[in-house]
């Protein structure tokens, strides 16, 4: 009789615990954390833009700098065209939803990147084709928590947020860590780890500035853990947001121009 009562009490406790856990995230999401995640998602998503950027790629064997012109609409449509060096001028990549096409002016052909090549390098950089295509949002696909809260009085000017992907999220990382500036809640460093917890790549943002009416990092640097001394750096030379793109901007015809 006694044990039975103990069991039922235990069950009640467990049930309450389970219930409180399952509802916890919605209730307990720190307002600061929620805002940080919203800002990250929005800055990644943008609305529509036209811009020019310089991409510098440094590997163990070579170093090169490309000037790129970019057009984007939301996250699902992007067109990037090489302006310089002259040898590759006109080479372009079109991304529409999950597909990528490359236009090669030298041979005047357009190639669709097959699924098996999605993990290959994009334009020789440390970004992969997948990086262009894959879309994940911190608010939808990750469970995040503070590792450290900023406290300017104590000299801590950064929040550190750790995000682990939800089981169904289209994410290859084991976890992602954000270092967020307290002043404007923009991340200045994002580190990506694999499923075993080993560091895979680091993105560093700098040159925070008001560009095209919004505050953003002008410079973005990507380093890959297993290739020390290599990096890809992107600098936004100019960018205009909220552009109305003509219908045919993101088509195979426009890719060739």
């Amino acid at each position: 009789m006694k044990t039975q009562m103990a069991v039922s009490r235990l069950l009640a406790v467990v049930t309450t615990l389970l219930l409180s856990w399952s509802t916890a995230p919605a209730q307990a999401m720190d307002p600061t954390l929620a805002e940080i995640l919203r800002i990250q998602d929005e800055s990644a998503r943008g609305s529509s833009s036209v811009g020019t950027m310089t991409m510098r790629i440094k590997t163990a064997q070579w170093e090169r700098t490309l000037t790129l012109k970019t057009w984007s609409q939301g996250t699902n449509k992007t067109l990037v065209r090489i302006e310089a060096p002259a040898k590759e001028k006109g080479t372009a990549t079109l991304k529409v939803d999950g597909d990528i096409w490359n236009y090669l002016p030298k041979v005047d052909r357009t190639i669709k990147v097959p699924g098996s090549m999605m993990s290959a390098s994009w334009m020789g950089s440390h970004f992969s084709n997948d990086d262009l295509v894959r879309e994940s949002r911190f608010t939808d696909h990750f469970t995040c928590q503070f590792l450290q809260k900023a406290d300017p009085a104590a000299g801590r000017h950064h929040h550190v947020v750790e995000c682990t992907p939800r089981p169904t999220a289209p994410v290859v990382w084991g976890k992602v860590q954000l270092r967020v500036r307290a002043e404007d809640k923009l991340a200045d460093q994002v580190t990506y780890y694999d499923e075993k917890g080993a560091l895979v790549r680091t993105m560093t943002f700098s040159g925070f500035d008001v560009v095209g009416g919004r505050k953003m990092a002008r410079r973005m640097q990507l380093t890959v853990a297993d290739r020390p001394n290599e990096l890809t750096e992107i600098h936004y030379d100019e960018i205009t947001f909220d552009v109305k793109h003509p219908e045919q901007t993101f088509t195979l015809q426009a890719l060739k121009r």
Partner: protein, 404 residues
């Protein structure tokens, strides 16, 4: 000589029994020789299919290339390695490797580009003979490429179709060029079938802005040179490089060959046990029937060794006769299988476990392949007959004469 004459007469006292024994022995011999030669042929085919067309006896890479292939992980002195091997009579050829993207029309696929040293490569590998259609590479046609069979199918290309090749050159720039499909290979091995794009080394160098060196040296094993010896020679010729024999490059094939050998040995063992039982039974019968006779022989002064010799002479004669019958019956069959083989019909060209089946399965005749079963039978019979022979030799004349 008297022993053999006596033995000869003895074995024909029971014509039917001796006939059955002879039939069993010669059948076992014919079977083991034919089976052994066919399996040898199977293995030679397998080895040839995988090694002569696709892998070679051994390969040399720059250290680390195998784990993390990169166009920059090259052997600057590949030409010297090739030369050092050639000086020892070991055919070798350098190959240039890169991964890339190939496309034709709407279709595209990942590919492994292989720049071929036209003059040397055919001395090492005979992939140039394995064409399903079209022709092998030619220096006079630098824009012509040869594709693996599955890759050609995925891309939906025919001879003469245009192929866009996209990769990243050694200077980081975008390497892209239009080529023409010049040939499509037969199935030679999974990796080549699925992603192999062969082009001349000159075309490769231009496409990829690749200067000196090479990524791979393929080496042919001279027929008489055992694999470990080859491995040693190659390592000596390519110090501090990653040298891999075909057994390391294709462990599945190596395991398969080992297991085929193991299975062969097991079947030979079973057949020989059965043979041993047949002859043991026959000789035991022959001894039991003649216990009185042996008793009289011994009473007349014959020693134990004389009787032992007699029984062994009888067994030996039967083995020799069986060998004779086996040769008469087996030789034409062996000749037929080695010359005409077995038509593999629908199985031809089917690639199983990364290996292509040949169209015709031939027996391979070798001196050890024939001699070994004969010698094994001799040993097996000698052991089996020991018991009846000793029984006869150790008979006590008085007891034997009263034996009923």
């Amino acid at each position: 000589m008297g022993t053999f004459r006596l033995a000869w007469r003895n074995i024909w006292r029971h014509k039917r029994r001796t006939g059955i024994t002879l039939a069993a022995l010669s059948l076992a011999l014919v079977f083991t020789v034919l089976y052994g030669s066919m399996m040898e042929g199977y293995m030679v085919n397998m080895e040839q299919g995988a090694l002569d067309f696709d892998i070679g006896g051994a390969q040399v890479f720059a250290p680390g290339y195998q784990d993390k292939p990169s166009i920059h992980t090259r052997m600057a002195d590949a030409a010297d390695i090739v030369q050092r091997l050639e000086q020892q009579g070991i055919p070798a050829a350098a190959r240039l490797l890169a991964s890339g993207l190939v496309a034709s029309g709407e279709a595209s696929a990942g590919a492994q580009l292989r720049g071929i040293d036209l003059a040397r490569d055919t001395r090492v590998l005979s992939i140039n003979t394995q064409l399903k259609e079209g022709r092998w590479l030619d220096g006079a046609d630098p824009r012509g490429v040869v594709l693996g069979v599955k890759l050609a199918r995925v891309l939906g290309v025919k001879l003469g179709d245009e192929l866009v090749v996209l990769s990243q050159a050694t200077d980081g720039s975008i390497a892209n060029e239009l080529f023409t499909v010049r040939g499509v290979l037969l199935s030679v091995g999974e990796a080549t079938d699925r992603s192999g794009v062969f082009l001349t080394d000159q075309a490769f160098r231009e496409l990829m802005s690749f200067d000196g060196g090479a990524h791979q040296v393929v080496v042919k094993r001279p027929v008489e040179m055992p694999l470990p010896v080859l491995a040693q020679r190659v390592m000596a010729a390519a110090p501090a490089r990653d040298v891999q024999t075909w057994r390391q490059l294709n462990p599945i094939l190596a395991t398969m060959m080992d297991s085929v050998r193991g299975m062969m040995a097991f079947i030979f063992f079973i057949v020989n046990i059965a043979t041993a039982i047949v002859i043991l039974n026959a000789m035991l019968m022959a001894v039991f029937e003649r216990i009185k006779e042996f008793g009289i022989l011994k009473a007349l002064g014959a020693g134990a060794t004389d009787v032992l010799k007699l029984i062994y002479a009888e067994s030996l004669l039967q083995v020799v006769l069986a060998v004779g019958v086996a040769l008469v019956v087996g030789t034409p069959a062996l000749w037929y299988l080695s010359v005409y083989g077995v038509d593999m019909g629908a199985l031809a060209g089917v690639s199983a476990m990364g290996l292509a089946m040949v169209s015709n399965w031939h027996a391979v005749v070798s001196v050890p392949g024939i001699l070994t079963p004969f010698l094994i039978m001799l040993v097996v019979v000698s052991v089996a007959v020991l018991y009846p022979a000793l029984k006869a030799a150790l008979i006590q004349p008085v007891k034997a004469i009263h034996h009923t």
